[in-house]
Symmetry: C2
């Protein structure tokens, strides 16, 4: 019999009983273990590991990571404020954003460092904060994906300053007397050490053009396997060539670069489960499909619909059984795209899963939902309220860290005609 | 020079000035005109047109539609409550849901009619409300899409009772003495009258099996063109064969069926614009792309990322110009999938648009965002607050119908560890 990744069958049932369904459950033990691994990332002259908080932004998660020594990568001005409210010191936050907030100068004065992610951001920062210290995010011209598709690096990516504009960026920085102390080159490097070697070399080539740079930030994008057949990045393996490249630069130039990394998925993905219920079953005849309908869907878990993401599903039958069934799992929205078990390469193609034989009322645990799930959902679609979040403490006790939303809250900003 | 669909350039600029950016703007005139067209849908023996409120659920929209005579199609128990709070009489609401709410008996007793959408829903309703009136939603075995893909009808659809289970459904209804007064067969019929003819015939064949049925509900799914080359369903054209089929049944059997339809997109799609701002521009060199970054994205408009949906974008340059540029438009999230101008068949392929030459600070109006936009977004991702909604009254005045969300509201359910 399959079991969920970190929840026991009894825990899953007890959590549903206490907090209702659906509910996100984060595992403090996994969060701390993953953070420890990240903090052991190979480095030559020091490491700062930042949690990419957009992956899941609950203050409880931020505070656990703060305790163990992670800093914060914020992707918007709102996230900076949210992190500060959660008790993160401003100087422990780095902001890399597609939309520079209007109050960026205030944010910088509080101590948060900013990476200019475009030529215009650089100009605005230079004009408002001449003489200040700044990071520069570059697009080095290569990403881990294809070329005509969305990507975090390469010609199809809108992220960062295009490497061909390096001279222009340097001139603007000089013009405003900016101290460029950090280069940032998040390109989504995956799990292949050869790609990391190339990434590090390209990034160091950019660093060579800026003698004031002391920190190199390689961003995030470290893939994690959620289901069988998907690979998890071994940080020790991919980090080794990076460390070597830093050492080589030091031997050659005397410059000892501080390494920064910004994982989100790697820290969170498998440290959270969504406890749901099978609330209906239908089928479309002997040549069709057998469908499980959960009391959750794209309102809690958008990645399958958006990216054909694969998650493990574990049925917890009321009566343990050796029997199985082939089920297509769908969400509770009146939306044909609310499909939780798509084919790996096609979000609209139905891919049945072999699961324990189930019945209406059974718990269904969805694993691998820590990153870009609770924080990136089609919430309130069909007017379903946002699901609560629970922390499974190291002690084994559970603690509510976000209450279930109410319909009153969904409506509170409406103004009648 | 291009212009937005219903906003003048001056209105768009004034609305941004008054309500901030981004902001949804609904056009009361279009809403009323579309409702009038829907209420003229060809019918032989009476028509009830229901607004599929999941398309956009603001009370202001519901109340305008109520005024002109539309009823409501709700897709969850939460939507029923929301509609009632907006002043819709319970008996004007019909519930067809993938997740029967626990309080369904109470909902039915208030006057809302329920369509059983699965065998189990039918059993639960029969047990709780023996002798009551009920609708049955069937999956007639055909939809307007392919067969191995998500669909609202056919073997790949989880919606409704499979037509092969018709006898079973009838037996359950008889067993609980249920009065089956309505058959529902939403299969997403598109704009082809031949498909409508077939749909109507299949649905009427189901009606023949239930002598107590007085109403046939054909659901929604009436496609609307948002950009050039996309077709808008002509209701008079697709409705004609439906009317004929109803007349034929009456001649043959004496049964005069009342027609129900449930449009969402058709009523809303082109009656709303999203007023946004160009907040940054980047490019990836002469062989790459020129990117416009808006202060909105998948947090307001998820359809491009989810379904490669095409929307019209109009730049309103501060200085009117005849010059154009080829731009890829991206959203403000740190997410490579936050792409607003995908290729029509691939949400991850970049498709530049020829637009008026633009500069940072220009207004960008996104049209065609009335349906499944404000109600179905990745809101709060990157901690961006939910955008406000405004109604452009027939008088030309604008009225705020939903305030912009605050960070306090995003965080209000969090509980520190």
């Amino acid at each position: 019999m399959e079991t969920p990744r970190f929840l026991s069958r009894e825990q899953a049932i007890a959590i549903r009983e206490e907090f209702g369904s659906p509910v996100f459950v984060y595992d403090e033990t996994s969060l701390r273990a993953n953070a420890s691994e990240v903090l052991r990332f190979p480095n030559a002259f020091g490491l700062t590991a930042r949690y990419a908080m957009k992956a899941s932004s609950n203050a409880a998660i931020l505070s656990i990571f703060r305790e163990v020594g992670l800093k914060i990568d914020a992707s918007s001005g709102h996230e900076v404020e949210r992190a500060i409210r959660a008790g993160i010191p401003a100087e422990d936050i780095s902001l890399s954003t597609q939309e520079l907030p209007e109050n960026f100068a205030e944010i910088a004065k509080q101590g948060t460092t900013i990476n200019a992610c475009s030529i215009d951001q650089l100009k605005r920062i230079g004009e408002a904060l001449p003489g200040s210290s700044i990071g520069l995010r570059f697009n080095p011209g290569m990403g881990s994906g294809g070329t005509a598709k969305t990507n975090v690096g390469g010609p199809s990516s809108s992220f960062g300053i295009w490497h061909g504009k390096l001279d222009e960026a340097r001139e603007i920085a000089e013009q405003h007397n900016l101290n460029v102390f950090r280069i940032h080159t998040h390109i989504g490097s995956g799990s292949d050490p050869a790609v990391w070697q190339k990434t590090a070399a390209m990034s160091i080539d950019i660093v060579r053009e800026f003698p004031t740079v002391t920190n190199l930030n390689l961003g995030g994008g470290y893939k994690v396997g959620r289901v069988a057949g998907e690979q998890t990045t071994d940080l020790q393996v991919v980090g080794a060539p990076v460390k070597e490249a830093f050492q080589k630069l030091a031997e050659e130039t005397g410059r000892e670069l501080h390494l920064e990394i910004e994982p989100g998925t790697w820290l969170l993905a498998n440290a959270c489960a969504l406890v749901t219920s099978v609330q209906d079953m239908t089928d479309t005849g002997s040549d069709g499909y057998q469908f499980l309908k959960l009391d959750a869907g794209m309102t809690e878990l958008l990645r399958p619909s958006l990216y054909a993401a694969q998650h493990p599903y574990t049925i917890i039958p009321v009566e343990p059984t050796e029997e199985t069934g082939d089920y297509v799992i769908v969400g509770h929205c009146c939306e044909s795209g609310d499909l939780l078990t798509p084919a790996p390469d096609d979000a609209e193609a139905l891919a049945p899963r072999k699961l324990a034989k189930t019945a209406i009322g059974d718990v269904c645990v969805i694993d691998g939902v820590g990153a870009y799930c609770s924080s990136m959902t089609a919430k309130n679609y069909n007017s379903f309220p946002e699901a609560p979040e629970v922390m499974l403490r190291e002690s084994g006790k559970t603690q509510l860290i976000r209450r279930r939303q109410t319909l009153d809250q969904i409506l509170e900003n409406e103004i009648p005609l």
